[in-house]
């Protein structure tokens, strides 16, 4: 895979920054003025779908099928970000046009659709994917056709590509800080690990076990995986009762998730008696689990809808104005919202829509208006972000109880955890 990397000379870069700053201050001028200062021939040397007035991007999520439950929020958040960017005048004076494709919760379909977006439509960037399986299915295509993917989901790590910006947390950002918090604040020494049986929970639990045993000198008193779609957890709950862990550490997903918390509650395990920390319950899952079943349990995420800062208040208000007052925003939905903004920043920094130049420009990009606070792209294409712990409330919201003081550096290939 040979790729031409044409780094802009420092003086040229400086000129671009000056140019874009000038353009910013002249935002009141007609759009065309800004587009003219970035002629299409110059900002698009790789035959992308960029015209004098428009730039086309793709959106590739599951609008149908099993994963629609989770991916709908991401589709909405990305659309909101794109609308807002367009209202501000677009990117380099060009309005963003979106081609929406449906991956239909089927991984080969994701691959097909990504080929269509990159080869036929020549989109400048794609916002999409949710499950690791769908991302792995499209990755070779993005690398071969040299496309740019912004993927929002927190995931198991062990991946890095110049063609993907990961706006969700990789495993260590979500797990290690959460476990340390549990050990310090809740004096947890023994842990019972529970997950659905596929790659993300298994990799996450592997990291968790390593951290508990090698670094915290704690004890793992049980580790259990249940098939996706399992709805009967009574035997597991009895095992937990026998093991009496200080902490139940859970990564159960999908329909199983709902069954798990309903049955915990029914078996008399509730937040006031048992410390439970999970990696897989956000506001999105709460609508299914039900606040009364998760009351008092803890979730380790980087974002909660209830975060109290100006960026987030604006974001939540805009989201509800567009999608109804009952709409909820989970961790991944917020991460999806970052995608279009980070792409815009990269395009403006590079002064070009070309994927290679965006790739080079991306590391170091900061986004200060992020609802989760401030984020920054690392050289490994993952985000620096804070880790947070939220406590489930009866009404289905989360109360922020702890947050890391500093941004945590993303580390998709953690040493000592393999």
């Amino acid at each position: 895979m040979s790729r031409k990397q044409v780094p802009a000379s420092p003086s040229l870069q400086r000129r671009r920054i000056v140019q874009s700053m000038a353009a910013l201050s002249l935002a009141s001028l007609p759009m065309l003025g800004k587009a003219q200062s970035f002629p299409t021939a110059k900002v698009n040397t790789t035959k992308l779908a960029v015209t004098d007035t428009e730039v086309t991007v793709g959106q590739l999520h599951s609008a149908t099928g099993t994963m629609a439950i989770s991916e709908t929020g991401s589709i909405q958040a990305e659309q909101l970000a794109i609308d807002q960017i367009n209202a501000m005048g677009g990117v380099l004076g060009r309005k963003i046009k979106v081609i929406k494709e449906d991956g239909a919760s089927d991984w080969p379909t994701f691959a097909e659709k990504s080929k269509k977006l990159l080869i036929n439509d020549r989109v400048a960037a794609v916002f999409g994917c949710w499950t690791s399986a769908s991302r792995k299915a499209v990755l070779p295509i993005f690398e071969k056709e040299n496309g740019m993917l912004y993927c929002p989901t927190f995931y198991e790590g062990l991946e890095q590509s110049k063609n993907v910006i990961y706006t969700g947390q990789e495993a260590t950002q979500q797990i290690i800080w959460g476990l340390d918090w549990g050990a310090k604040e809740k004096k947890a020494k023994s842990f019972f690990l529970v997950g659905s049986d596929y790659i993300w929970p298994r990799t996450s639990m592997k990291i968790a076990r390593k951290h508990i045993e090698a670094f915290q000198k704690g004890k793992v008193v049980g580790e259990e995986y249940y098939p996706l779609g399992n709805t009967n957890f009574n035997s597991l709950i009895n095992k937990i009762k026998v093991a009496k862990p200080d902490c139940i550490f859970a990564a159960v997903v999908g329909g199983s998730n709902v069954a798990f918390y309903k049955q915990l509650k029914a078996a008399g395990i509730s937040g006031d008696k048992q410390f439970l920390l999970t990696l897989s319950v956000t506001e999105d899952e709460m609508t299914g689990v039900g606040g009364e079943n998760f009351d008092g349990f803890y979730s380790s995420m980087k974002y909660f809808q209830s975060l109290d800062n100006e960026n987030n208040k604006k974001f939540v208000a805009a989201f509800k104005a567009k999608y109804g007052k009952d709409a909820v925003i989970g961790d991944v939905t917020q991460a999806a919202y970052l995608g279009p903004w980070l792409w815009k920043a990269a395009v403006e920094k590079a002064g070009s829509f070309d994927v290679d130049k965006i790739g080079t420009a991306s590391p170091g990009i900061e986004f200060k208006a992020a609802p989760e606070g401030y984020v920054k792209i690392d050289t490994n294409n993952h985000l620096w972000s804070k880790a947070r712990i939220g406590k489930g409330q009866k009404d289905g919201s989360f109360k922020l109880v702890a947050e890391s003081t500093d941004l945590i550096k993303p580390d998709p290939f953690p040493k000592g955890y393999q």
Partner: protein
């Protein structure tokens, strides 16, 4: 671990098996009627359960909005409404789809599978892709603790009671009512039943609709233990077929026995092995037994 604690865990584990038994039986009952008695492979069985589940959600939302004081009592009413809705849907499906396919049993498999996909998408577009959770009355939440350290889930007790009730009613209807007589006559010899003046096509429609209605009740009951989303039905469909096939199609007693056997094997092995391994063990056992006894545990003598 003390003796009393071991006793408590043993009790709770015993109840876990019983509770899984009632879940399996309830989801298998409707199918036992449709698949067992009529020979229709209804792949949309899970979606009829979902109709029931959404009915409870609808009931809880409406009660909360219109008559909050009625909250503690809405649940039983919602279950009856769930039966009615699923019954009506089943009636419609039989009339429009199934009755044209009785002579082509394998085509019903495809047709009902398509129906199941269609219904899932209908739920997704109509109600929304996110999972929803009906607000359950307080008396259904939490556990009943007869002794310290012994927690019996109330929702499990509820499902157990409901299953006993529904099974009793189905048995009664099938063996003591005119409808049951007609169903059994149609199953054992259709042309003969026709000849003695039984309207078999009407019997078929009623039977299919009742099977779907029971699926609706099952779905409604499962809102207490599981999730409600457009694809929730697909979580149950495999187990439902497993129970009915293993028990021996056409035998209601077989369905009860097979639900009990599967539930106990599953629940006991889950306690000693990991979750996924327990499933492997249970399924391998079923395959082995079915290899030796292809007709299932209890095969009733049926002239086909």
């Amino acid at each position: 671990m003390g003796l009393s604690e071991m006793f408590n865990i043993g009790m709770m584990q015993g109840f876990a098996g019983l509770s899984l038994f009632s879940v399996l039986l309830l989801m298998g009952l409707g199918l036992a009627i449709i698949f067992g008695q009529m020979g229709v492979i209804n792949m949309a069985h899970g979606e009829f359960m979902t109709i029931g589940a959404y009915t409870v959600f609808l009931g809880s939302t409406m009660t909360e909005r219109l008559a909050p004081g009625f909250m503690p009592f809405y649940f039983p009413v919602a279950i009856i409404v769930a039966f009615v809705f699923a019954f009506a849907a089943g009636w419609l499906v039989e009339w429009s789809l199934i009755r044209h396919l009785y002579k082509r049993p394998l085509d019903t498999l495809l047709a009902t599978w398509g129906l199941s996909l269609g219904m899932q998408q209908l739920f997704r577009t109509g109600i929304g892709p996110k999972e929803v959770s009906p607000t359950l009355p307080d008396w259904l939440l939490g556990s009943w603790a007869p002794a310290a350290g012994l927690d019996i889930p109330i929702n499990g007790l509820f499902v157990l009671g409901l299953t006993a009730l529904v099974t009793g009613l189905v048995m009664l209807a099938l063996y003591k009512s005119r409808w049951g007589l007609r169903v059994r006559a149609t199953v054992s010899n259709r042309p003969m039943a026709n000849a003695v003046g039984i309207n078999t096509s009407k019997t078929d429609r009623l039977t299919f609709a009742i099977g779907c209605g029971i699926a609706g009740v099952a779905g409604a009951a499962f809102t207490t233990i599981g999730s409600t989303g457009p694809t929730s039905g697909s979580l149950y469909i495999v187990d439902a077929f497993l129970v009915v096939t293993f028990g021996g199609a056409a035998s209601l007693l077989g369905t009860v026995a097979s639900a009990f056997g599967i539930a106990q094997t599953q629940s006991i092995s889950e306690f000693f092995l990991s979750g996924s391994m327990a499933k492997v063990l249970t399924l391998s056992l079923i395959v082995l037994i079915l290899m030796a006894r292809p007709q299932g545990l209890f095969a009733s003598k049926v002239r086909r």
